[in-house]
Amino acid sequence: MDNVLQMVWLIPLLPLIGFLINGLGRNSLSKRMSGIIGSGVILFSFLLSLYVFFNVKGGNSHLAHYFNLIDINSFTIGFDFQIDPLSSLFLLIITGVGFLIHLYSTAYMHAEDGKDYAKYFAYLNLFVFSMLLLVMGGNYVILFIGWEGVGLCSYLLIGYWFKNVNYTNAAKKAFVMNRIGDLGFLLAVFWLLNKLGTTNFTDVFANLSKLSTTDITGITLLLFVGATGKSAQIPLFTWLPDAMAGPTPVSALIHAATMVTAGIYMIARSNVLYNLAPLTQEIIMWIGLATALLAATIALKQNDIKKVLAYSTVSQLGFMFLALGTGNYIAAVFHVMTHAFFKALLFLGSGSVIHGMHHEQDINNMGGLKSKMKITYITFFIGCLAIAGIPPLSGFFSKDSILIGAYEHNKIVYAIALFTACLTAFYMFRLLFITFNGKFRGTQKQWNHVHESPAAMTVPLIILAVLSAIAGFVNIPALFGGTESLTHFLSPVIQQTHQTTLSHATEYMLMGGAVVLISAVISWAYFKFKNYEPKEETSSFGKTLENKWYVDEFYNSILVKPLQAIAAFFNTIVEKKGIDGMVNGVGKVVNYGSRQIRLLQSGQIGHYVLLMVLGILVLLIIQLFF
């Protein structure tokens, strides 16, 4: 066991080294070198993660303490890594999918200058490093360091093409939204430190009896606020669709392997805490459900290939939170895993389309691409089937376990979730058919340019397609004679409150019903969109969806505009008139006064003498009478 601890620190260190080499040597490294270094370090981390995974497979759990980060009188916070089934699973997802994305990036970003190319890989490596720190951290503080790190890296990468003002604005939006959530997280950590004097996961979960119900509810709610920021839930979800401003592989990295899964991980990690806070769980469930539904409806009407995927991510994250809220943590983690595969696949597939179309993202200008981009089409199709939940692809198993959990919790929740799942199938296949079927709607010149992407891009697509197809088999429910390996694997760290009590007949019925419904929706989408012609949106509801329920406008009018008005008030009144006025006023008084007093210095000796005499007289009078 000790040799595991001897090498786990290498897993996050390698990407950090990659970041340093690429970042510092960006002026001298060739593109080839920076690509090899950037991807290579992640590959090594992945191999190490595999080793760790097989080590903890039997249920081992390790705690590595390296040094004390903060050591003061009342508490000590160590630089600890916790290696257990949950973190090792996330390590695999992050480094595995992360590596494929790095590999893909080497081809996708090839048009960049050598310097920017190295910078890109440096950021990417730093991103993976932060995320690894986040999932390996043995206490909330280390988790928070990684948490902040991914926030920073998302800012850097979303604003990678920083010469475009819209992109930098999107980056700022992502950063600010994340900061709002981070505040909640930080407060929760302070609360824990105040009450328990420790932030170590093991110590916190062992001493929960010392906390009152109010404490637990408060802490879990604040942690959840952090999770809404990072994992793009209502009300802090608007940054994620805007994060599409970054290069497509970055979107894939943010949406699939890193960043947005942080909130899920954190809550799954704190499952013991959340089990004691039914109120918080209820809130999480409803917010997850609302987010899933809202984002799915928005995705129905988006015409930017990446925007559709972005809203679908928000919607899928909503499903995960729904699972967390019903105490079905393993289903949430399972969905994180399958989602990482098919969402990375879909994003990289859309990147391949964008690459082939020379940076065209509007699906109205696409169509009929399947004849020219066979591999992309087939893999994208598999991704769509997986996300829609068609058996036996991975999305079916993970989404089904979420839905079953919802059904047992509350029938209405189940109905809404099922409806949302149908919407998911609809918008994904709408996207697929509009992009790849029908006839091409762009210019002839564009059509001549369309080409299949190079091997560095298609190989990751194929690998991810295979994974999306088969990943569901790691947790086949007992219903199909499976062993639920993932559930057993995670059970040492996760106290699942959700236990299936349904009869097999009911389960079959639910699953069958869901599959039939989703298939019906897909065929409907096929007939509706196989020969799609873009047309102006006329219905007011359609317009509302196209404009994302006007959420951005709503936030603008209730938050941004008033804040700007207050800022303007402080700028013109308090700052310019008040503070500047005071400072300048002192200067003006001195200036004016001295100009007046200067007149006394007339140069006439008589005046000086007169003043002297008067002065002496005054002194004399003071001397005599006071």
Binding site: Q601, S602, G603, Q604, I605, G606, V609, L610, V613
Partner: protein, 110 residues
Amino acid sequence: MEIRWYIGLAVALFSIGVMGVLTRRNAIIVFMCIELMLNAVNLLLVAFSKMHALSPVGLTNPSVVSNAQIFVFFIMVVAAAEVAVGLAIIVMMYRNTHVVDINFLNRLKN
């Protein structure tokens, strides 16, 4: 004679000196007025010294009595030195400007 006559004379002399300094423009007259003030003070010092010598304190400590009179000599010496310097300045001023009007000497203004 009573001391108040001396005081009155000294005050009169001093006031004449002050008024002269304040009102006259001829440097030499101003200079003379300054001398007048100095000598008014000298007169006062000598008068008080004499009065002091006849007081009970002065009678018991004769050595203290002469202090004021010695002081007068000092003032005279200083005044003489001042005259030497001052007159030299006035001569130089006359050489440069051909006037001895002190209001003419406002070149430092502005």
